[in-house]
Amino acid sequence: MITGAGVISPLGDSPARLHDSLGRGLSAIKPIKLFSTEGLGCPLGGEIADFDATKYLGQRNLRPLDRTSRLVASAAQLALADSGWSIEMRNVQEIGLVLGTMFCSLHTISEFDRRALEAGPAYASPMDFSNTVINAAAGQTAIAHNLRDVNTTISTGVTSGLEAISYATELIRSGRARALLAGGADELCFESFYGFDRAGLLCRSNVTAGDFPIPFDSRRNGSALGEGAALLMLEDVALARERGAKILGEVVGHGSSYDCSRGQDSVQAVEAIASAIRHAMSDAFLLPHEIDCLSASANGSRGGDQHEAEGVVAGLNGQTQKLPVTAIKSMLGETLGASGPMQAVSLLETMRDGVLPGIPQLHQVEDDFPLTMARSKNQEADVINGLINSIGFDGHCCSLILSRGEEN
């Protein structure tokens, strides 16, 4: 059962604010201020310009936490508050954390190394070193909120966040854990941005802020990188009922697969996406017509979006003519490890108010584009079961199915 959510994003720091921004078609994609993009092909990204962790974590000593850790610890604070887990309750019932992240502390790692190169190894910072591990944000967040149960970091690229939710769901199903924060995070930093830009994965130089990326559109020419953190509070049903928690929804199914061609072979790529969806469907005991909407992974990449559209059709046995589709990376950008959990947070809001955000810039789909219900305008959708996809650059595919909570 999902009993709460916390989100830090450039489009709002609560599920309701994020959903409202998405519903209004606001774009986070703007010229980047965090670092210089001079000489790079893409100057745009979805950065949280005014992020201040003290707003969420108070005046405690935040010095040991790097930006990624601050994003995660802040989102954790919001998710714990939203689900009603007070400090006192956490002393009785241990809570864990499963975090998905593609890079976690890449910027800290690189800075630590560069300082040693420039000033000599004796001048490298020991405090930075403790943050160079890829599980740093999960560890720092556990310390900040006294989360002593399972603490696992999953790193599978774009699918990291959805994989983390799947992992946590399995731990709760098997009785190994009762209450887990699960989701993902990644920060915008020069090192990863440079890498994506040089690999030609970002929307290119002729772009205008707010107009790109355009998932599924024939004019798409790459994604935009974003940043943020999103965490769900997952609990076993008995615990949630016992403490009278509000229930936002339920994770009813998940599935994963791997495309060994890493996107190079369209047949294999499409089959891997379909396979993850089929696993999630059978895990949830649902049939294709019972899926009420899709939150797509599509981020504006040439091959990836096409593979996803075909993979969804195959995975749902062709029953997609009436399937409303959204792709919130059109507005948030590709937030990597945070992306799947961001989609989950937004989908829970859609289940609550019936508004499925449009894909604002989507005006020119290719001929015979199979997802006919992907629209630029918002759609009214009565969603009981929603499908979320995460599809990575390196062949990872993960699908998750959420069902609406009892209070709706």
Binding site: D113, F129, V133, N135, V150, S155, G395
Partner: protein, 408 residues
């Protein structure tokens, strides 16, 4: 499907030998793999020794991908995976590709890629860094490369929980198989010798100048190392059907988080104790049934003392009976690979009734007063082995392996 999961193959790439047989013989003979660092110039450091893998030829193992263009941790992982499959007698062509998966752990992913980035950045030649950075650096590429090389299209997970990552990855593979999501999993860990890691531990004053001597009164620290360990996991019924050699059953695991400090363990070993306790409960094992403990045993003053305290807190008087050894005395600390290689050691101990020694232990620390199998291997019945691993971020993981004769 049988929910009892067994180890049928072992593949290791270590500083004291590549392949199960050579490694195990050298380990029982108490051979050390610690030598002057070759990977980079250490003249600016005050320590100079490491445990590197020697005479490793990636082309011997990597048949489908381009070995020369893979990071070293990916090369190690593929080699260990191939060795494990060969050891298990698995014909890759006979597998259902979609039900064959990979679960790997790491501390640093492919650190040499970010080091190359930093070298270019510092020398103002960043234009030398091209698309390969994003294709080779993110840590998930290790599991992805293994799967692409072997055409495994099932679950593909990377768990970067630092120095306990191997145990986390094996535990996850166990859950995947218990849930019936795969027929065969490759599970383990891999790390390449890293300038960043070496710099960090040296800066913390945690690196020993000459040798690694866990539990000795005059121990001076850990020695950074590298390597990979991969296990083949299969359900018991499947392993029996194909007449496979069964090393041991993966009987259960426990995970916990200190939530205390990023780099220092809890002063009473509380988190370590909880992980061990859960592992015993998960595998329905009593303290008196444990025949061997493979210690985390890094050789730092704090780790060895606190680990001893935690074992005594849980096992009480039984603690003095159980042989405990640290193979890090010979291999150094192979980071994310360490607990995977140590899990292989537990499997071999259970299979062959022999326990490797803790070498360089001549003058035991009075605060470390248990039986650490000093300096010579031992032969005795090993029915149940416990594998302990602890990491930055307070991530603790314990694994229980059980003798096949105890399976009905």
């Amino acid at each position: 499907m049988d929910r009892r999961i067994v180890i049928t193959g072992i593949g290791v790439v270590t500083p004291i030998g590549i392949g199960c047989e050579m490694f195990w013989n050298n380990l029982l003979a108490g051979q050390s793999g610690i030598a002057p660092v070759q990977s980079f110039d250490t003249s600016e450091y005050n320590v100079h020794r490491g445990a590197e893998v020697k005479e490793f030829n990636a082309e011997d193992y990597i048949l489908n991908l381009d070995a020369a263009h893979l990071g070293r941790a990916s090369q190690f992982a593929i080699a260990a995976a191939r060795l494990a499959l060969a050891d298990a007698g698995v014909e890759i062509g006979s597998l259902d590709r979609k039900r064959a998966g990979v679960s790997m752990g790491t501390t640093s992913g492919e650190p040499r890629e970010v080091e190359r980035f930093d070298d270019a950045y510092v020398s103002k030649k960043l234009d030398r860094i091209g698309p390969e950075f994003i294709q080779l650096y993110p840590c998930h590429v290790i599991a992805a490369h293994v799967a692409s090389e072997l055409q495994f299209a099932g679950v593909n997970t990377m768990i970067p929980t630092a120095c306990a990552a191997g145990n986390y990855a094996i535990a996850h593979a166990l859950d995947v198989m218990r849930a019936g999501r795969a027929d065969l999993m490759l599970a383990g860990g891999s790390d390449a010798f890293s300038r960043i890691t070496f710099t960090g531990f040296a800066r913390l004053g945690a690196v020993a100048p000459e040798i690694c001597q866990p539990f000795d009164r005059f121990r001076k620290g850990m020695i950074p190392g590298e390597g990979a360990g991969v296990l083949v996991l299969e359900p018991l019924d499947r392993a029996r059907r194909r007449g496979a050699r069964i090393y041991a059953e993966v009987a259960g695991y426990g995970l916990s988080c200190d939530a205390h400090h990023m780099t220092a363990a809890h002063p009473e070993g509380a988190g370590a104790e909880r992980a061990m306790r859960q592992a015993l409960a998960d595998s329905r094992t009593n303290c008196e049934d444990v025949s061997y403990i493979s210690a985390h045993g890094t050789g730092t003053a704090t780790n060895d003392r606190l680990e001893t305290i935690a074992v005594k807190r849980l096992f009480k008087d039984e603690a003095y009976r159980i042989p405990i050894s640290s193979i890090k005395s010979m291999l150094g600390h192979t980071m994310g690979a360490a607990s995977a290689i140590e899990a292989a050691v537990c499997a071999l101990a259970v299979f062959s009734n022999r326990i490797p020694p803790t070498i360089n232990l001549n003058d035991p620390d009075p605060e470390c007063d248990l039986d650490y199998v000093a300096n010579s291997a031992r032969e005795l019945p090993v029915n149940i082995a416990m594998n302990n691993a602890y990491a930055f971020g307070g991530n603790n993981a314990s694994l229980i392996l059980r003798k096949r004769e105890l399976l009905n």
